[in-house]
């Protein structure tokens, strides 16, 4: 059996998430699909699992799948996908969750678990009382029990202890040897090297490297676009500074940003949240009202001009603006108060080149005027272009401060946790 991905492309608006990817995966392989956040790994796999439709290209599983997913549930499914976020019923026991997913009876749960090769005791425990690792195992058992031909695991070890990870790898090898094709999405270099029979590296929606033999360092370097040269100019009379915190998404950046929010009075802090639609602006209110939430709404006309915000006026609803202009509004209202400390999380995410340049310029100016800027970003280009100092965040811990020069050779390894 083979899983064939043929010239698949998928865009979300202007962003090419998956760019003409072709891949063949055989039964019995364990493919490690590796890349930074935003590289397109999860999107590609979601297309394979038919959760998303591709814009172009085809997915083929040959020989044809044994049974499609029917409304009755529990039938043999050819593609199993274990997601990163749990889809468990908290109030149900392990047995009941399994029963729901497989159509079996709760009392058959222990048998199902035994058949999976994964250890999970106490089937009468409720899902909410399980540890994160156990929940992860339960999701895995759910997927395996349906005997898929292709099993996709999205960052399965992110919440497991080393012991549990080892157990997982054993299971993966077992399943693979029984004829399933396993795809293991991860950004953890060491683990991928350990268990994968083949490694596929994605970057910006494309497959950049495919190999059966790579060292950890080679893999880490391939994952990451390390910039060469091009550092921030040693600044003239900068009284403030920009510290870039770089890292793969999901290593504690949110918590770090929230810490700043908690420890400083909001009025003295400039805060640019990572998710501008959910946490930044209130789409149903006008630009002026959004500005007024944090600063002086009356200055909105000046701000619109100053920041070249393309809008019909201060009374236009914030939700009607483009992403770039929304970000400008947030930037404007935060910087206008000239705070001493600014936390900017992924400030140029989803912005085009022109808007990105604008944001960088504003941040530079603020630093020149004396602000300390904490720039949390997963975009290394950005970090190296702006920062006076760089730190890497990995599993919630910050590395030491480095100059851009020092960082350029070390950052890839630090981000992958290999250093």
């Amino acid at each position: 059996m083979t899983l064939r991905i043929d010239h698949v492309t998928k865009s979300f608006g202007a962003t090419r998430a998956v760019d003409d990817v072709s891949l063949e995966i055989e039964a019995g392989e364990i493919v490690g699909l590796v890349g930074e956040n935003g590289a397109g790994k999860t999107t590609l796999m979601r297309i394979v699992a038919a959760e998303l439709a591709a814009d172009a290209g085809t997915i083929n599983v040959a020989p044809p799948p044994s049974a499609a997913r029917t409304a009755g549930g529990g039938g043999a499914t050819s593609i199993g996908f274990v997601h990163q976020h749990f889809m468990l019923v908290n109030d149900f026991t392990i047995a009941e969750n399994l029963a729901l997913a497989t159509g079996a009876l709760p009392r058959e749960a222990e048998g199902i678990i035994a058949g999976s090769g994964i250890e999970l005791r106490g089937v009468t425990r409720r899902a909410r009382d399980l540890s994160v690792g156990e929940k992860s195992k339960l999701e895995l058992i759910k997927a395996i029990a349906r005997k898929p031909e292709v099993l996709i695991l999205d960052e399965p070890t992110s919440v497991l202890t080393p012991y549990e990870s080892d157990e997982l790898f054993r299971v993966m090898r077992n399943i693979a040897s029984e004829g399933t094709a396993v795809v293991f999405i991860s950004h953890k270099v060491r683990e991928v090297i350990e268990v994968a029979t083949r490694v596929v590296v994605m970057r910006r929606g494309r497959v950049v490297v495919e190999s059966a033999k790579m060292t950890a360092e080679e893999l880490a370097a391939a994952m990451v676009d390390t910039p060469r040269g091009d550092f921030a100019p040693v600044t003239e009379t900068r009284t403030g500074e920009i510290v870039a915190i770089v890292g793969v998404a999901g290593n504690g950046q949110r918590e770090l940003a929230d810490t700043y929010l908690r420890e400083h009075p909001r009025a003295r802090l400039g805060f640019i949240p990572e998710d501008r639609t959910r946490d930044g602006l209130v789409a149903e209110m006008s630009i002026a009202e959004n500005v007024a939430l944090v600063g002086d709404g009356r200055r909105t006309p000046q701000l619109i001009e100053q920041y070249s915000i393309r809008a019909k006026g201060p009374d236009q609803l914030a939700g009607a603006l483009s992403g770039g202009n929304q970000q400008k509004v947030i930037l404007a209202r935060e910087l206008d108060r000239a705070p001493e400390l600014i936390v900017a999380a992924e400030p140029t995410r989803g912005l085009d080149i022109e808007a990105t340049r604008f944001v960088h310029e504003q941040l530079r100016r603020a630093a020149n005027r004396g602000a300390k800027i904490v720039l949390i970003t997963s975009d290394l280009d950005e970090a190296f272009a702006l920062a006076d100092a760089i730190q890497v965040i990995y599993r919630g811990k910050l590395s030491e401060r480095m100059t851009p020069g020092e960082a350029s050779s070390r950052v890839a390894a630090l981000m992958a946790g290999v250093a």
Binding site: L261, R266, A267, F271, P273, R278, D279, G280, L281, V282, A283, E284, M285, E289, A292, L293, V294
Partner: protein, 316 residues
């Protein structure tokens, strides 16, 4: 606005059809004359609209903060009880007491939400029942009239100034509507309230204490509902009795929806429903057609508004 008018039109059309189908061809005509066809009718409509405006306003305010206040019944009663007890100290004190009592009653639900995550949808309904029993206890017991014949209180010790048949509560209600509009749309507090209602996450990141904001919104909402109770007591009934609240709290939901959650529009919405109720009363007197047609009219308005997508579930 269009949706509201469409809902009203459908409601009227349905009532007309019901009238014809049941052999009361003049149903609609009697509704109209009974509600605005004479000075007496207009006065009745005005008086009936006042509590509806205020309970509707209460629902609107809470909704702007992102919460369901279905506790209007209980807050209405709390306000009336407080007004009764405070009446010996004067009308103004009684009115203030009604507002405070309503705010307090609503805050019980807020506290439970903040303290133990108890959903207001459920706690406010329960508080309604408790309020109703409290009222029943009072008018059968400590507050019962001296003769002890009926389950009602003595005449209240104060009352609202009147101009003919119309009491000052009409002015108070209008002021409340305008004040609410001003608060919600022209003040920083209102801005924060709306932000919290639209997007609690963004509000949090803008530095707003979401829980405290919601609690304040609920308190104001409860205060307005309490005011409704106080006005009804001091201006219309002058006594407390069982079934004093008689569905005003729930009707407030209909008013709020017809007003499309806009504070000033509650004036028009309340006027419509007030007219409906008054006209239906006349219908019952003159033509022996159940005044329940007013309730039917209310229901149709809500259903049509839902149909037009006015009320997608806030939590979905």
């Amino acid at each position: 606005m269009k949706r509201a008018l469409a809902a009203v039109a459908v409601s009227i059309a349905l009532l007309w059809i019901v009238g014809i189908a049941s052999g009361h061809a003049d149903l609609l005509r009697v509704l109209v004359t009974g509600s605005i066809g004479s000075t007496f009718a207009i006065e009745g409509t005005l008086l009936k609209s006042v509590p509806l405006l205020l309970t509707g306003l209460a629902v609107v305010i809470a909704f702007r903060a992102g919460v369901w206040n279905i506790g209007g019944e209980g807050q209405f009663i709390a306000g009336a009880l407080a007004a009764f007890v405070a009446a010996p100290l004067g009308t103004i004190v009684a009115i203030v007491a009604s507002i405070l009592a309503g705010a307090l009653w609503a805050s019980i639900a807020s506290l439970m939400r903040a303290w133990r995550n108890a959903p207001e949808v459920l706690t406010t309904i329960l508080l309604n029942f408790i309020g109703i029993e409290l009222l029943g206890y009072c008018v059968n017991g400590p507050l019962q009239e001296a003769s002890g014949k009926y389950p009602q209180s003595e005449a209240v010790a104060a009352s609202l100034p009147q101009l003919g048949e119309i009491h000052a509560g009409v002015a108070l209600a209008l002021i409340a509507a305008i004040a609410s509009w001003f608060l919600i749309y022209r003040t920083k507090e209102g801005l924060r309230l709306r932000a919290t209602g639209f997007n609690p996450s963004a509000a949090h990141y803008a530095g707003i204490n979401v829980n405290a904001q919601i609690a304040r919104g609920m308190a104001i909402s409860g205060g307005v509902a309490g005011l409704a109770g106080g006005i009804e007591l001091l201006g219309v009934t002058h006594r407390l009795f069982e079934r004093f609240a008689a569905g005003y709290g729930y009707s407030g939901i209909a008013v709020a929806l017809l007003a499309q959650l806009h504070p000033l529009a509650t004036i028009g919405a309340a006027a419509f429903f007030g007219a409906l109720v008054t006209g239906a009363g006349e219908l019952q007197r003159a033509a022996n057609v159940s005044s329940s047609v007013a309730t039917l009219g209310q229901a149709v308005v809500i259903l049509v508004l839902i149909l037009f997508g006015s009320m997608r579930s806030r939590t979905s």
